[in-house]
Subunit: 333 residues, 2 copies
DNA sequence: GTGGATTTCTACAACGATTGACATGCGCTG
DNA sequence: CAGCGCATGTCAATCGTTGTAGAAATCCAC
């Protein structure tokens, strides 16, 4: 049923290995033979069997991308960018919804899909996966997001502290004085690092730090942002600006503000983080930190492929994703 | 480096065949032996090499999902649901961004990833892929969306005509008389089928059909919806309601309306289609047709797996996805 | 036109899991 | 104790591709 190498060989009147050589660009081949083989390949519409190839070569040209959930816009956009970047290099991406930390970790350690994949790009959302570093993963791994303390693998992330500093400073620059933060967290995760930049900016501007303005919430989705915003509005002295640690939180917060009949940015200014497409089309459009996702994807894939090829020195690398602050209606009207 | 069957056999003190028998649930095995083998498997954290297995068995337990773009919320949500449904059944989903019809079609016909995947779920956005049906695809295929005329494969879709009829009728029921449609298209694709339901509803209510209120636009994203809405507002007699053929178009339209200082739904009511999460949190929240995505995912996967197993009769099946009309602020304030 | 280098191609084994045919050993039953 | 059924082992072949080693063909210089 499926045409295989030997069929092509028979048709072209050469040996199986010669066909394989043509396919793999082996140097010493007459242009004549090559033409003959290529004609046979075209005639039979031959496609190499990837299972057999991967079994023999020990390489599949498949990589995995582990993300918490693909329905979340940031991860969807990231996944799309990484798929594109990989496809350009002849690599296929297998997307894994980890749906929580433990599961994610399990995946990484769990035999990497029966040795099918050559490596993994891992993007946790909340806490840094400390234990992942500990367990020696057999396959190359590139980590996206905040860096855990240990671990020996490459790492690509935005400078969350600086970006958060910039976002907060922007709010200060438009005259806000009571600036809340939604999405703070503990440990060394995203929520903690972004809080660091937020506090730093307040301090740099000589503004007081009010703990009641820092909300943790339970997650990083719209409902969490909406709930946190309701809490803030219930304060005796509500904020005049909010820095949300991602865009979904910000969109949830905007929804609460709209429900409360408050004007954005006049009553409360809002800044997000991630620059997902929804924010650009929301009314008001969302001011946000915009990491260069294409850059991130290209470099994460490149880093991983270098590791897989093995022709990179063993020193671990850290890349910092460029970003811009996109100023839109939610802070400037 | 990688543990293989023979390692497990050695550790358990049995033959390779016995281990294989345990893994593949061969009938005659002592619970003792089974326990011993399973312990060895656990100890060594053995995972069968999927390349080898798939090469030998001719089945990989991988299926592909071909969608136009995963960054589009509807497809992201669909992909997430299908991944979940497949994972429940021990199947892994490979997501393919087709980014346009021809490429998509090519993928499907092009050797199905070198026989790695067992089948494909194909979800085109625009026109029905007529040629796909023509070419005899070797592997099982389930088509999502509007059904093309020919082709011999299973098919899962919402009743677009009825749903569009319902959406339009809802607008009529709240007193609208000049109802526009955004996203119409020709042929037998989504844009044509939904227009059919739209026109049917107008006719049923005795409303005139005004061709200038039917906008095709160039795509199905927010900017397309925004542009179409601008066109509608420029009409000598603008509409008092708009039915957008998907939620992204609707969100774009809402943005234009906000920019124009018009009130939704007082000046213009808006209905979408797909029920993506963004619509639920937008202000105003978006009234929309909500297909049951979980149902869709479960059934598409189930259908495909039955085909792959080969224990389904050869008659082709058509399933209709249940849906509801979610009435929200964009039509009721 | 012969020796030796070089190019071009082929035969064979291997990757790891599975399967089938067949042999073997054990505990029972009659 | 013959004979049966069950549980496992042995051996070999197979899936399709590629690396190794070497055979065959070609080329050049003398």
């Amino acid at each position: 049923m499926a045409t295989r190498l030997s069929d092509v060989a028979a048709r072209a009147g050469v040996s199986v290995k010669t066909v394989s050589n043509v396919i793999n660009d082996y140097p010493h081949i007459t242009s004549q033979t090559r033409a003959k083989v290529e004609a046979a390949i075209a005639d039979l519409d031959y496609k190499p069997n990837v299972s057999a190839r991967s079994l023999r070569k020990g390489r599949s040209d498949f990589i995995a991308l582990a993300i918490p959930e693909m329905a979340s816009p940031y991860f969807a956009e990231l996944g799309a960018a990484i798929s594109r970047a990989a496809k350009k290099r002849g690599i296929t991406v297998l997307i894994d919804q980890t749906e929580g930390e433990q599961a994610a970790e399990k995946l990484v350690l769990d035999g990497m899909r029966g040795q099918l994949i050559d490596g993994i790009i891992f993007s946790p959302i909340t806490t840094a996966p400390a234990r992942i570093g500990a367990a020696g993963t057999a396959k190359p791994l590139v980590l996206l997001g905040e860096r855990p303390t240990g671990g020996n693998f490459d790492h690509v992330a935005i400078d969350s502290v600086q970006a958060s500093f910039d976002a907060t400073t922007h709010l200060i620059s438009i005259g806000r004085r009571r600036i809340a933060a939604i999405g703070v967290g503990g440990g060394a995760g995203t929520g903690a690092v972004r809080r660091k930049g937020y506090r730093k900016a307040l301090k740099a501007a000589g503004l007081p730090h009010d703990p009641s303005l820092e909300l943790a919430g339970t997650g990083y989705h719209r409902p969490d942002g909406a709930a946190s915003m309701r809490e803030l509005l219930a304060l005796p002295e509500p904020p005049d600006a909010v820095f949300c640690f991602n865009d979904l939180l910000a969109l949830g917060a905007l929804r609460t503000l709209a429900d409360a009949g408050l004007s954005v940015p006049d009553d409360v200014a809002v800044v997000g983080f991630d620059d997902i497409e929804d924010g650009r089309y929301h009314s008001p459009s969302l001011t946000t930190i915009s990491p260069d996702k294409e850059w991130l994807a290209e470099n994460a894939v490149e880093l991983l492929l270098e590791r897989i090829a093995g022709n990179s020195d063993s020193t671990r690398r850290d890349l910092t994703v460029p970003y811009t602050l996109e100023i839109r209606e939610s802070t400037t009207g």
